[in-house]
Symmetry: C2
Subunit: 309 residues, 2 copies
């Protein structure tokens, strides 16, 4: 069999990178030649994790077909969130924890998804089922991915399984979950040195909602005061991205990781679906998103519903 590239979504977060590393190792153990790559430069939080566990930064690719015929996707399936030439390669494996949409294959494949907190939790089960040992550094990246996706178990996407799996991974990785977790999240929440473009679009994903291209970014912070001083700058970038890519709206979710609360910034021709989805008034392109921390579970579903009706 020819070599497989293994990668997570565009604008990778820690689960996209950690799960790619973990699945590449797993597939290698069951006989595949693999390489974990990334569809973008790792963010500060992911870099902190990679450095902490001494894992090399994965190579960034923009196309897959010039190098390989076969790929494995982790932490995503929607083509709009994948490599640009995804339609030109064969998808042999997917491991994920998102909805399935705007995805198709020509032939049968291995697909494993579960509605739990992170792709790395699903991967932990695969390792257990096959009785494959998880190396210390891989366990560290999987743990980081779970902490990142669940905001240290505080997100509504977190399940008791994720917590149990994280504890087992922490033992293998030899770290204290809470101490390491807060350190890692804080490393990602310091946005002072980041450009407006990076903050706005660095973690953004595009969703097709009833034919509308909806762009949703999310950034973690500690407190809202500092970051909101740069609001005008963010809105400028969002407006120009909106025009450039023909998005229906661009919504930036700013999440306070210690308070578990968010504020939304939004631009777009018609923002009534946002008002409707969250039952919050938009004033000066800004709305409160009280107790919302999960894009997947608390932002995408109500917004999809609002666009459907």
């Amino acid at each position: 069999m020819s070599k497989l590239l293994v990668f997570g979504h565009l604008n990778p977060d820690t689960d996209a990178i950690g799960a790619a590393i973990a699945y590449a190792h797993f597939l290698n153990q069951i006989g595949e030649e693999t390489e974990a790559v990334a569809l973008g430069t790792p963010n500060d939080e992911t870099r902190f994790a990679l450095e902490h566990f001494n894992v090399p930064v994965p190579r960034v690719i923009e196309q897959a077909a010039p190098e390989v015929e076969r790929v494995a996707l982790v932490d995503h399936n929607e083509f709009a969130q994948s490599v640009a030439d995804i339609r030109d390669v064969q998808i042999d494996y997917v491991v994920d924890h998102h909805r399935i949409a705007n995805f198709e294959t020509a032939g049968p494949l291995y697909y494993r998804a579960e509605p739990i907190g992170s792709t790395s939790s699903v991967l932990f089960k695969l390792y257990q089922e096959k009785g494959i040992e998880i190396p210390t550094d891989v366990a560290g990246m999987m743990l980081s991915a779970i902490i990142s996706d669940t905001l240290l178990f505080k997100s509504p996407t977190c399940t008791p399984e994720d917590v149990k799996i994280a504890q087992q991974l922490a033992e293998i990785a030899q770290v204290d979950v809470n101490e390491y977790g807060i350190q890692m999240l804080k490393a990602g929440a310091d946005v002072s040195a980041r450009s407006a473009m990076d903050i706005v679009d660095g973690d953004a994903k595009t969703f097709d909602m009833n034919g509308h291209k909806v762009r949703i970014g999310q950034v973690n912070t500690v407190g809202f005061v500092d970051i909101l001083k740069r609001k005008a700058e963010f809105l400028d970038v969002m407006q120009s991205e909106l025009s450039k890519h023909d998005y229906a709206i661009f919504l930036l979710v700013i999440t306070d990781i210690l308070e578990n609360d968010s504020i939304g910034l939004v631009v777009g021709g018609d923002t009534t679906p946002v008002t409707k989805a969250f039952d919050q008034a938009i004033t000066d392109n800004q709305l409160n998103l009280p107790q919302i921390v999960s894009r997947k579970k608390q932002v995408v579903p109500p917004l999809t519903d609002a666009y459907m009706s």
Copy 2:
């Protein structure tokens, strides 16, 4: 949690019915209230299996939403092959062994697919992983499903895993695989008493190929001579189904289960994709499909390619 309906595809074959029964039992063991139902009356082969293992014939449903909010799909995912109101219910589980296409969900779900011979083989792994015991009658239906989908291990879709799993199921079900398998396949291959409509459309599925609605039926026989005496009758039914449902083409694959060979009958406005896909001339709406026995692996992919180019 509310009750789940568990079902396979329209025009159910033995895997669609067997896997629904097996997954309903499995989900029940992990705490779900379930009922295995069918999207059509079981065929002769499936009836033989149900009678042999003393399993009641599942109830046939035409809609899901009036009864339940949540469903589990087995042996299919494409909405065109599912219950008519699939978009009105929440899909919480899928276990399958086909390509993924024309399928989407609003939220995360449990999805398990592997590129192996039958859905029941995938289900066997789930039982093993959770350490859940398979009752004798359920094992019998799972075994029947594997035999049916792999034509007693002769289809190119069959993997060494399917053979091994079938042997383990045969032990639980207390039958001899080969003896029982030939009996069951022959029960399904006797088409003398079946109407032309049932033979042509009883196992047919619709595939979206580059915007064309392609209908592909398959029927198992022993020898071609007898069945081809009814060719004119079949073509009449295919032509009238084509007009009624606006299919681009209707292809009936007649498979000799002992010789592992097929003949195709085809109607449609433009049949050149069929000629191209199989590199066979069509004479009087008929073409040879030498050594072809698997719709999934040997018919759908080349035909999809032919429609794409």
